[in-house]
């Protein structure tokens, strides 16, 4: 699907969780990692975040929470973890393994 203004953005506005704006990446990880349907995945993520199922889609709540938990935010924030560092924190939060983090750990020299 091309035409991002006609596809990706309208779907986001109509029905999307919003990715790292809120908790969409976390819910997606549980869908793929544990084959959870949307209701179960939302509940699981909400419990791990310590908020309600309703609040995991709220940008106002999730922006602050993501920064506190160091799991990645959408704004350019110096010293805030992103990429592999943020994903390692997500592994701990959700109790899952993420392939890119595993590869990173395999690559670094043992100290």
């Amino acid at each position: 699907m091309g035409d991002p203004c006609g596809m990706a953005i309208p779907h986001l506005m109509a029905s999307g969780l919003g990715g790292i704006r809120t908790s969409g990446d976390l819910v997606a990880r549980m869908q793929f990692n544990k084959n959870m349907k949307i209701k179960d995945a939302r509940k699981y993520v909400a419990k791990k975040l310590g908020v309600s199922d309703f609040e995991i889609g709220d940008e106002y709540i999730m922006r602050q929470l993501r920064e506190e938990l160091k799991i990645g935010v959408i704004t350019g924030l110096p010293n805030a973890p992103r990429g592999i560092a943020a994903k390692m924190n997500i592994e701990d939060l959700l109790g899952i393994k993420i392939n890119s983090c595993e590869k990173f750990r395999q690559m670094i020299a043992k100290r």
Binding site: M1, G2, D3, P4, G6, M7, A8, I9, P10, H11, L12, M13, A14, S15, G16, L17, G18, G19, I20, R21, T22, G24, D25, V27, A28, R29, Q31, F32, N33, N35, M36, K37, I38, A41, D53, F54, G57, D58, I71, G72, I74, T75, R82, G83, I84, A86, K87, I90, K97, I98, N99, S100, E102, K103, F104
Partner: protein, 354 residues
Amino acid sequence: MSEIYTRMGDGSRVVTTRSKVIDDLNLGSADAADMGVIKALSSDLIEQLADIICDKNRVVGVEPGHEVVLTYDIGQLDFTGDNGNSGNGIDMGRLEAALLHERAMGADTFELAHADYSIKPVKPVISNEMQTMEEIQNEIVAPFFYGAMPNMGLYYKPDGPYGNPADLMREFKIEEAMDQAEKASEHMARDIEFVSTRIMSAGSDGFNFDTTGSAGDADVVGTFKGVEKLRKACPDADILLGMAGECVMGIHGSIEYDGKVVAGLFPHQQVKLAEKAGADVFGPVVNTNTGKSLAWNLGRAVTFVRECGKVAKIPIHVNMGMGVGGIPMCETAPIDAVTRCSKAMVEVAGVDGV
């Protein structure tokens, strides 16, 4: 009765009435029920869909708390691709495109893609793709997959080594056509294993098999076998398997997967085989009829997808690009139509993602 502005399946705007919308929803649903031998939508659900279509607002959306996960196809090609992909034709790096989707466009997941977006052309440049995957994984936070179409058509002459079944059947060489399709299917499964396992070794979260079955039933079987190989080699890989159409085309006609003939299978039957193969998430497709209304197409698509979701053990991410999922078939998708279909699939079909 007040007039309603709606769309045809080709995207053109038409004026109609609520009663006509309800008639078309019922006819579309009945068509799906007839083809798939499944239940048509109840009158309550038809009314719910009519409310969505007849909403006076230009943009509609789900109630807060009902948001779902979005997955994507063609990766960065929505920015960089040409008109054939409804792409913007903007030359840019794949890292930038991925991070723009994550941080500027609210993507829950995203993917890396080759310009030809097919398994076969990735083979010669696999090292390049692995290197780019590693680079993007270092920066991105959201789940980031590799995406490609199985696209078995590329394995037939003149693009590939096998005889083209369409040409062979014209010459009444039916058995040879079936034999060539089976050989192409096996070859494609081997290539899927080659590409997908190497991409996983580069840190990919998983693989999106997009437009499965575009070359018919042998394409579906080859993809399922490729998925099996990936699952065996990488048990933790995230695997998204999306289809090409609501009904598997019987180009071969009798090729089987797990003891079942795959030609003629509909979404609620396809998903059971996708589960067997090892998919984590299934992407049902219902193609749009450009000569029918948005209501007819949406009623039909929701009927198929709702049944698929009912029987599925894995999450369902319905395909909702141009010309699928009730959305009109046109290059510049009307936002009123896209948001209506998106809301309908979440709230009426009950999908887990789009």
